[in-house]
């Protein structure tokens, strides 16, 4: 295993612990918005679809890449908007 891959694995391990720490003691009231917010964040997969579509050099790849970007955007935009709508409900009057 080369050093670059190894350092990525270090990063993964650290992020796993960080993720657990971040969610540690969240009141159950916020479970749904939290899940929804996390759902929007994994929409970061869209970056990969943009790269893959940007490098597509034939019609098939371009079409599939196009679909991937649309779906990824759905995940990101829908995710953040839905979360925001849920949280709007918690606003103090």
């Amino acid at each position: 295993m080369d050093p670059a891959t190894l350092s990525l694995i270090y990063l993964v391990v650290l992020m796993i612990f960080l993720g657990i720490e971040l969610i540690g003691h969240v009141p159950s009231v916020l479970h749904t918005p939290l899940m929804s917010g996390a759902n929007a964040i994994h929409g970061v997969v869209i970056i990969g679809s943009i790269i893959v579509m940007g490098m597509a050099d034939d019609a098939l790849s371009l079409t599939l890449g196009f679909i991937a970007v649309v779906l990824g955007t759905l995940n990101v935009v829908g995710g953040f908007v839905v979360t925001n709508r849920m949280l709007e409900m918690f606003k103090k009057k």
Binding site: L8, I23, S36, G37, N39, V45, I50, V52
Partner: protein, 479 residues
């Protein structure tokens, strides 16, 4: 220079993800957290469009088309997210999660194709030389991304359909074995794609995708609708891992960090949700909740059911000292939260103390009731969590159960054969009077009888929650 700017943009985005998740954990800061992460995401997307280039310094092409795709996705996503009813939030989250999974799957398919084309090119140039082999870890990440992303996609869509009540639970003998065989086959094809790279083609990729999609379907099919939130949370963390696989493939830090964070936080959230129901994750995933096992508890539920009229109920509550409202999914379906708030208002005007008892898994998702009641302007401090309210039921004159069932079923405490045995419940039976608003005597989501309805201090008020609630409000006003 440009590389540094791109790297810094990704770093900024990663920090907003971490900070955003942290802020989402507290009611006061949650909204800021969500917005922060959204800003970070936008930064990452724009930076990628403008600054990204591959090892040969080649910038991204097809930019106008990419922007078109972004615009279309934004339009549809925004429209769907704004249009959806508060009651349907859980399935909406599931749907968007599935889209992310599908996106990860597509990336893997295209990247494998891309690598194959590049290798073919190299070996041509080297005149029948050895097949150019890419980094094995990259291949593993591509294959894992395809497998996990596809499972997440089809699983999420099934969860979505179940929550929409378009699909029931499907169970049969030996189901677990069949499911495991499908998963095993998918993994085997995945291993072949890595080990035999260059000797197998895109048809194996398609085969893997098909097996993974089927597995996602059969994995979620037998799980009961009441457990869908747990499943969605789990699939959510799956998509996180699939995104992280993409990060491995492109050595892309923001994808890796965002994906793994969601993967680990999502897994923990799943476990926490299971704990709120006092069940283990394996129990949720692999035992048929509310299926054939439910029969054991029905014997206890015999006797007569008392009914009362809206007028009686109104009198009972208006002259009470303390009323506790227990909202459930029935309230959500009937959209009765606003009328419910009116009732609270009317009762308070008569000097009755009113609070709401919120079970952690009332409705279809944890926090579902809080969101709904907050929508109707019910003040936050009137919502009392289970641990705090349970000792207070003894001093409660009327417990008004609105469309809740399993979360107030005493069988969870008394009947070891019940599928919900061990789940903490709201002790409404301790109240002097229990009024249960329900459409009919039908069993709750777990498919089991509720002996609470047959208790001497319980009366039933049948009808749609909103209609009955409106009648109640009018009766209280008329007193």
């Amino acid at each position: 220079m440009m590389d540094t700017v791109l790297a810094i943009s990704y770093l900024v985005a990663s920090i907003t993800f971490i900070g955003g998740l942290k802020l989402l954990g507290s009611p006061k800061t949650a909204r800021t957290g969500n917005l922060l992460a959204a800003v970070g995401m936008t930064v990452a997307i724009i930076a990628t469009l403008v600054l990204y280039h591959d090892e040969q310094g080649q910038h991204l092409g097809n930019i106008p088309l990419i922007i078109a795709a972004l615009v279309i996705g934004t339009g549809i996503g925004w429209f769907m997210a704004m249009r959806v009813q508060m009651t349907s939030m859980p399935q909406m989250v599931s749907f968007f999660n599935g889209m992310g999974g599908a996106c990860a799957g597509f990336i893997s398919v295209l990247e494998y194709k891309h690598l194959l084309a590049a290798s073919a090119h190299t070996s041509d140039a080297m005149l029948a030389g050895a097949v150019h082999t890419p980094n094995t870890w990259h291949l593993v990440a591509i294959v894992a991304g395809l497998l996990i992303g596809s499972v997440s996609f089809s699983g999420s869509i099934i969860a979505f359909l179940k929550l929409e009540d378009k699909l029931g639970d499907i169970r049969y003998r030996g189901q677990m074995i069949v499911n495991n065989l499908i998963l095993l086959a998918a993994c085997a094809v995945g291993v072949v794609l890595v080990v035999e790279y260059g000797y197998v083609g895109m048809e194996h990729v398609a085969f893997l995708a098909a097996l993974a999609l089927i597995f996602g379907v059969v994995f979620v099919l037998p799980i009961g609708g009441a457990d869908m939130p747990v499943v969605i949370s789990l699939l959510n963390s799956f998509t996180g891992v699939a995104a992280a696989c993409g990060g491995f493939v492109y050595d892309n830090m923001v994808m890796l960090i965002g994906g793994i964070l969601v993967g680990s936080a999502g897994t923990l959230l799943t476990v926490v949700m299971c704990k709120a129901m006092n069940r283990s994750l394996t129990n949720v995933l692999f035992s048929s909740f509310g299926g054939a096992t439910a029969s054991g508890s029905s014997k206890a539920a015999t006797g007569s059911v008392k009914q009362l009229t809206a007028t009686d109920a109104a009198v009972l509550m208006a002259y009470a000292q303390r009323v506790v409202i227990v909202p459930g999914y029935g309230l959500a379906v009937a959209q009765a939260q606003h009328v419910c708030h009116n009732l609270e208002h009317e009762l308070e005007a008569r000097g009755v103390s009113v609070s709401y008892a919120v079970h952690p898994v009332a409705g279809r998702m944890p926090g579902h009731m809080n969101v709904l009641l907050a929508e109707a302007d019910v003040s936050y401090d009137k919502l009392v969590e289970m641990e705090e309210i349970n000792p207070l039921f003894k001093q409660t004159d009327v417990a008004l159960v609105v469309g809740a069932n399993d979360v107030v079923n005493p069988a969870a405490k008394t009947d070891p054969s019940s599928p919900i045995y061990g789940m903490p419940i709201l002790d409404v039976e301790d109240a002097k009077n229990v009024i249960v608003m329900k459409r009919s005597m039908k069993a709750g989501y777990a498919g089991i009888e509720n002996e609470l309805f047959y208790r001497p201090n319980t009366s039933m008020l049948f009808g749609d929650a909103k209609a009955t609630m409106t009648a109640l409000v009018n009766e209280v006003k008329a007193l």
